[in-house]
Symmetry: C2
Subunit: 321 residues, 2 copies
Amino acid sequence: MPYYLGIDLGGTNIAAAVLDEEYRIMAEAARKTACPRPAEAIMDDMAAAAQEAAQKAGIRLQDVEYVGVGCPGSVNPDSGDIQYANNLDFHNVPMGKHLGDRLGRPIRVENDANAAAYGEYLAGAAAQADIRNFVAITLGTGVGGGVILGGRIYSGSNHAGGELGHMVIQAGGRPCTCGRKGCWEAYASATGLIQSTREAMRADPDSALWQTAEGGLSGVNGRTAFDGMRAGDGTAARVVREYVEALAAGLTNIINIFQPDLVSLAGGISKEGDALLLPLREIVDREDYARFGTQRTRIAIAELGNDAGVIGAALLGVSKA
Amino acid sequence: MPYYLGIDLGGTNIAAAVLDEEYRIMAEAARKTACPRPAEAIMDDMAAAAQEAAQKAGIRLQDVEYVGVGCPGSVNPDSGDIQYANNLDFHNVPMGKHLGDRLGRPIRVENDANAAAYGEYLAGAAAQADIRNFVAITLGTGVGGGVILGGRIYSGSNHAGGELGHMVIQAGGRPCTCGRKGCWEAYASATGLIQSTREAMRADPDSALWQTAEGGLSGVNGRTAFDGMRAGDGTAARVVREYVEALAAGLTNIINIFQPDLVSLAGGISKEGDALLLPLREIVDREDYARFGTQRTRIAIAELGNDAGVIGAALLGVSKA
């Protein structure tokens, strides 16, 4: 009976998990990332979390074929090196070698967004056998993307591809953290939605959004505009409509480029469910270049939540049957 | 010694060619497409052109392993059927079967833009052995795209992917023929450049563009703005600058998504060479998300011109060594 062991390294937490043969989490363990600190110390805690998860699951490290790792930043899966990770201050960290020495198992390393997409692909929203081309979008602080083509993670010639959030949809528009103007991320992320909500509140002192957002502008979050819309506020409804239009613009671009079987949406805003999905699908249905064809891309909410990363890491050595 | 036989079906012409083992054209033959007429009549002429090209090259049809075909529209390479081709009025045409019966060879069918990209990949701008991920852009009446990933044509789950021109870069902007507003194609195609040139001329009756474009507005073509810029006209220089900015916006999007080894530019406007490439590279260099990495996407002018389609069709059964 095969087991799988994965580690998800984040800016705040290190999560490790053991999965059973049906890709369900049997046991978990966690450590604080506690950066800034030396990469070696962080990797020692990653190894400790993995060992603890294995112990809790009642398995030995020898019972897994490999240990999978998801890590932020620019990751070279061939060498196992983390070339660069901004939030961890990692530069050319030989993670594969370091963890391999400590755990005595082969290590597979992947970018964390790619690993999370692979988790949804094998064990979440895209787990059906007939899905081979799949794009996972996460609407969080930024807009993250993971691209699975022909059943394999696609990350380009330099492992830096799939930066779907840094696609300009409004040339000359909002400044993006990446240096461009008008990136999809600047509008479709939670950060972008919060900015739009605040701009609308400033422009409309009578909006009920001032009551919805406890504490005024500083109380605005990714739910405020949706809550205000449900409470019947017209300004909030406009903010949501414009948000969905921007989300649909980028999503339709991605569909026209990849024509995948499925696109999934994850992250806090995806919890709005049908309030987000229904108007989104309406726009995409109208604009998709393949709208006259027989087979079209489906759009769904992701299923694994925050576990996608550690599940995907654990399954990096697995292919869909 | 292997030979290759390809047919490129266009809205105006049918071109057939035999290639030698170094992918060079040995002999060609052509027919008029002469639509509208029945698909069977067009396919009979395709077979006749292929036979004539083989005869001119001094080979028999049995000397080729297969015959490759590039066709506009929605093509299913697995079944060999043309599902839909607007300009030919084709609906579910079993091209693979029909041509196979006439030529007595296995037939490989592909979308014409994909075939042209594959030609550049194997025998043109991307022929180097270390290029495995490659995007071909054609700046013509529209903006066409062909995507080669891991050495294979990528066209999505429904064979309709790679519609790179129908990526919105200016939400709510210029109406596009596809029904969306602000598509890359509406700005970066020759049609888009001609529209921008005319708009600038109308707004500036003193522009030297009125002399550059023989016959005034009706004499404007894809070269007019570039010629006006070279003649020192400020309005023309602005039109070119804005054109390059729009081209760069979409191109940087594509690089951030695919991070390919190479992107090539084909079509009439690509003949501007460095007048186009140098300012384009400057913007992409500044905005590419992987700009801090060691390996970056190169941008080059395509090499095969109008032969890309028939060469790519002939090579559909070949992989890069």
